[in-house]
Amino acid sequence: MLITKLKDKEMIASLLKGKVFVINCFGCKEVHFPEEEAKALQKEWADEGIVTGVLTTDYICNPENLPLRLERHKAEIEAADAVLVFSCGVGVQTVSEYLAPKRVCACCDTYPLPGGQGVTPLEYDCDQCGECWLNLTGGICPITACSKSLVNGQCGGAKNGMCEVDPEMECGWERIYRRLAQTGRLDVFKTPVHIHNFATDLELKQE
């Protein structure tokens, strides 16, 4: 089981630039979503008239179903400056990959709950770190896509695009850099120094 919690309001507000398309991934058995809070927030946005459309569904992490679902909202997505996703980290990564170079933002942090882990499809993985980095990394998770889980950029260990720790694995930071370049977001390399907060289990965060 996972639990997702909305990022704090200021953080989400900083993602709002222009019009937004909203994707809610509710109804997955593996994940508990903050459905009421998310809906309340989205109602505020709708009242402000910045929402081009909403897709509420389940299992957006399924890359076979996702395109069909998004296709129906194509015009609404095109009209939006950003797509805001309320889901676990896997869902955000799936949508980011599919919609690139569209700006896709994570509105939730994902935490583990004791018990069995959810099923992660394909190559997308969420470490449930509770401090989702995807808004700074073009929707590619640096925690799971980098052998060292680096959050400030590439180390010196990539050769021909591959990670020296695992020659089968592409360097996560080269992927992130390419995605950021493609989406015109290389300015995130100018954001202040990032430091992991490992005190992110739910109880500590809620104190």
Binding site: S147, K148, S149, L150, V151, N152, G153, Q154, C155, G156, G157, A158, K159, N160, G161, E164, V165, C171, W173, E174, Y177, L186, F189, K190, P192, V193, H194, I195, H196, F198
Partner: protein, 292 residues
């Protein structure tokens, strides 16, 4: 002495590197450093290089300092969390070891204890940031240090001949933002790539030392081409090493190649860092031949 003072004076700063042994007797490397590296600005001491367990960098730095040399303490984030890193930084400062080179560190899987837990609580950027905080008398937890804060010369590394040099430059900029005052580079064998890199890197306004790894034979060059990130030894150099095996074995070829690279790159950088990998005795010869 802080190495940054030498850059500030406009000196072409020469450093070299020693690797501590797997054992407690370091008389050999201290004697060698005294004999061959006394004439240069400072000596880097590697921190369990390539994730191979050895005697500590800090202890070796202290021994070199006691022997009259200026050590550069290489500190990686591979084996220690933020508490241990800050504690070791304070320990270094207490010993008067002020030159610190901040590295993320190789992954544990590449070394001789692949079963070890890789830490990476911080990385090179956040470690530089932490050093900057300690200099202001505050630790990473936001707590005040007692008494006079430490002062470091904060170094970092960059890989100028990497096949993803744009990604390296982006990281370099973050290191500067976090407080890096000078850079040492990964080994360079392609001066034209280094010069092109410097064209972009000079905007950061921080001194860069050209990295040199002394080539011992053609096999080593081929091995690095296959396995070492950010390094490419051109075919001509490999042919030169393979051509006259005696000259390669004696070090003559490697020394000549190193000196040529230094001469080609010197107008574009602020110093050179020589990694002789056990051939420290050749360092004076390289510098002489390069006209330094």
């Amino acid at each position: 002495m802080r190495i940054t003072e030498c850059f500030d004076r406009g000196e072409f700063v020469v450093t070299a590197e020693v690797g501590p042994p797997k054992g407690i007797n370091i008389d050999g490397i201290v004697a060698e450093a005294k004999e061959f590296l006394s004439g240069i600005t400072a000596v880097n001491v590697t921190d369990c290089q390539s994730s191979v367990m050895r005697i500590g960098s800090l202890a070796t730095c202290k021994a070199l300092k006691d022997a009259g040399l200026t050590p550069i303490y290489q500190l990686t984030c591979r084996d220690r969390n933020r508490i241990a890193l800050q504690s070791d930084l304070l320990s270094a400062a207490m010993f008067g070891i002020e030159n610190v080179l901040a590295l993320t560190g190789d992954h544990t899987k590449l070394g001789d204890h692949p079963q070890a837990k890789p830490v990476f609580d911080l990385d090179s950027v956040s470690l530089l940031h932490t050093m900057s905080l300690l200099e202001q008398g505050v630790d990473l937890g936001g707590n005040q240090l007692v008494g006079e804060p430490p002062k470091f010369a904060k170094g970092a590394v960059v890989s100028p001949c990497s096949d993803s040099v744009d990604v390296q430059l982006a990281k370099m900029e973050r290191k500067v933002m976090a407080g890096a005052e000078y850079f040492q580079t990964q080994a360079v064998y392609e001066p034209e790539k280094f010069i092109e890199f410097m064209e972009t890197a000079k905007q950061f306004g921080k001194p860069v030392q050209l990295g040199i790894v002394l080539l011992k034979n053609a096999g080593m060059a081929k091995f690095m081409n296959r396995n070492v990130a950010g390094i490419h030894v051109p075919d001509e150099m490999i042919a030169e090493l393979a051509g006259d095996k005696e000259k390669a074995k004696s070090g003559e070829t490697g020394v000549k190649i190193a000196a040529e690279i230094i001469k080609a790159c010197k107008p574009y950088c602020q110093g050179v860092h020589i990694m002789a990998l056990g051939w420290e005795s050749k360092v004076p010869e390289i510098l002489k031949l390069a006209g330094i």
